[in-house]
Symmetry: C2
Subunit: 394 residues, 2 copies
């Protein structure tokens, strides 16, 4: 297996493990005094780590301004917070929350140094290129899924029938530090944890199978999948609502690695669909990933088996199957199929709602199929094939 050329974007300092959240105050103090802290809808005050964090920040003399990111960050919300803080001398932006809060914080940290509205800089929407400047940004995830703590893009949503989910992206928008404390995810409702895990797991699988995969992303992704997977491993227990701290730790690790991998290898058809669906309809991102995971992989695998029987992607599907199988020395084909079966079982555990439950009708499918990209999927699925997938999931 020869090694092709690749590039790998810079990575920030990663502080990982139970209790690491307590490193946040000192990390912030290293940048200066005035902190803009973004938090989520559910009050951070309910999280048992908060009182000690707050005390440490006070002890260090930090001036902490707290703003809420409610729902997925919209251009309007980002612009409003940026407007309020542009004249302040914000030393560092921090975000403690799920992927939406982290993406919001990442966008705000960048926009504080840029002119105009964020909408002018969004990929496929605006016409301006971000120069890559930003205020230092520290990401502290409280869910394990999006991996936003280790990506260089911020997904901004304007949800409507003419809506979008698009990225503010620049290599320099990678957070300056990622503090990943699995204890913070314990506060997350089981159902949300399960959907988030499907998002993170799908990102690992999509990046591993991506046509842009590199040896570094392959080894990291496969390692994270192995730690999540195996028979009845952490991923299964999270989907069953039976996760303990060790399971959450494996998922926090997997989510963070999925961020690194997607930033460097890209994603496939599942996230191609998810961003279009999430822009047009009010569907939680993790939930839609769970809906799509098994079927998109089944269709991709079947087409690969028919048309590219000697492809690297097929070997990779077999390798994925081997991680989750208790059979030794079966054929590649057996492992490929068993991986899909495992995905179906996972999907049954989390029971995602069908697409129609979000108001999607048959007449929407053409639009969604046309708009959804699949550029890094291991094999191209055309509009007709994409529409068939959506129909099956309606």
């Amino acid at each position: 297996m020869s090694i092709d050329s690749f590039t790998m974007s810079p990575l920030p300092a990663i502080l990982f493990g139970a209790g690491k959240a307590q490193m946040l105050p000192q990390t912030l103090a290293d940048y200066g005094r005035l902190v803009l802290l973004l938090v989520g809808e559910r009050s951070l005050q309910t999280n048992p780590v908060w009182p000690k964090l707050q005390e440490s920040m006070e002890d260090l003399g930090l001036e902490v301004h707290i703003e809420k990111i409610t729902g997925e960050p919209s251009p309007k919300l980002v612009d409003a917070i940026v407007e309020d803080y542009r004249q302040h001398d914000v030393a560092v932006v921090a975000a403690i929350g799920g992927g939406a809060v982290l993406d919001g914080g990442k966008a705000i940290a960048a926009m504080l140094t840029m002119e105009g509205s964020i909408i002018e800089y969004l990929e496929g929407v605006g016409s301006r290129e971000p120069a890559g400047t930003k205020v230092p940004f520290v990401a502290v995830p409280t869910t394990a899924g999006t991996g936003s703590e280790l990506t260089c893009n911020s997904v901004i949503s304007a949800v409507s029938r003419e809506g979008f989910k698009k990225s503010l992206r620049h290599e320099n928008f990678m957070p300056d530090a990622a503090i990943i404390d699995p204890v913070l995810t314990a506060n997350c409702p089981d159902k949300v944890s399960a959907f988030c895990s499907m998002d993170g797991f799908s990102q690992l699988v999509e990046a591993y199978l991506s046509s842009k995969a590199t040896p570094m992303t392959d080894d990291l992704a496969l390692g994270a999948i192995s730690r999540l997977g195996r028979l009845n491993g952490p991923l299964t227990r999270i989907c069953q609502g039976k996760a303990d701290l060790a399971d959450r730790t494996a998922m926090s690790y997997g989510a963070a690695i999925s961020g690194i991998c997607l930033a460097n290898a890209g994603l496939g058809i599942i996230h191609g669909f998810a961003s279009v669906l999430g822009g047009l309809f009010p569907i939680p991102h993790g939930a839609v990933c769970a809906t799509l995971l098994a079927v998109c992989n089944r269709v991709t695998l079947t087409k690969l088996q028919k048309e590219q029987s000697d492809s690297v992607a097929l070997q990779k599907y077999a390798r994925l199957g081997r991680i989750f199988s208790n059979r030794e020395k079966a054929s590649d084909r057996f492992y490929q199929e068993s991986f899909i079966e495992m995905l179906i079982e996972l999907t049954e555990l989390v029971q995602p709602a069908p697409l129609s439950s979000y108001g999607i009708t048959f007449s929407d499918l053409e639009t969604i199929a046309v708009q959804s990209g699949c550029k890094n999927n291991p094999i191209e699925l055309d509009v007709g094939e994409r529409k068939e997938i959506l129909k099956e999931l309606l």
Copy 2:
């Protein structure tokens, strides 16, 4: 297998693959006009990529000052070059060469922003702490071994009977970009390539077995070892002097990953010995790694088998053996032993000289054994055991 807490230092942009050296001029130009370029003893002009590089640098209007690093960088050499350039407004330091040249460049980039002699800042030698400031630094390796392009320390040597090899180290001393072009290593003599590969391979194995190993370093190290290893793979062909570009690419990848892994997981007894031996005697670093590799691992494994039969390190030794073995379903013990046998075979291919050939005598062994650390070795080897290893290799 649960995931323990870890920290991971920041990583720079990595440009990897045949032809990537041509990205150097633009990478440098992004920092400014005045470039201090460090090169090795063997004239860079003999390298076929040089004329085009030089032309591109001229086209971009760069003012390039070239200095040579001959041999392993000494405090005197670093101080002299720094003295010459302190008053210049150096925009970026670049180093194209083997590990010694990269370490020299890394040290010079840091010292350009610091007062006094480098000797004052060396670990275990000086009493001052580097603040972590430096001029931007770009590393371009022409050998595949030390991984210095992705480490945050610079090994400085003052070789004599009272000598040392010690590090200038700070998380911020990681290069700002690593441009890793395996084509550049084709100019390296076969014997040097073989010794370098033993250094890089040993670093991967030591970091994988390290008591400070993390999931990220484990997955990256094991992936790189798998790409190098397997039966009659790139590593064997390099040691035989039969490497083609694909083999060199695998080794350049392995060396780079070994840098990431050692920076975050540390190294074991082999590099513990190598730094002391290299400070006291004029032994090329790769050669001494080759001398030590098999015996140090045999002694470590034997002690683990006797005293820690259920250790993670023993499972890891078995996993390493499985990579290089063509037998399936053998016992862990079988794979552990077969890994050592493979190391012995590799050693026979490269035929490193015995320690006595560098002027080391029996009476030196006590001093070497006492001075050599083994803090991250999977099991502690005491002074007596360390002396026994040296005796065997005399």
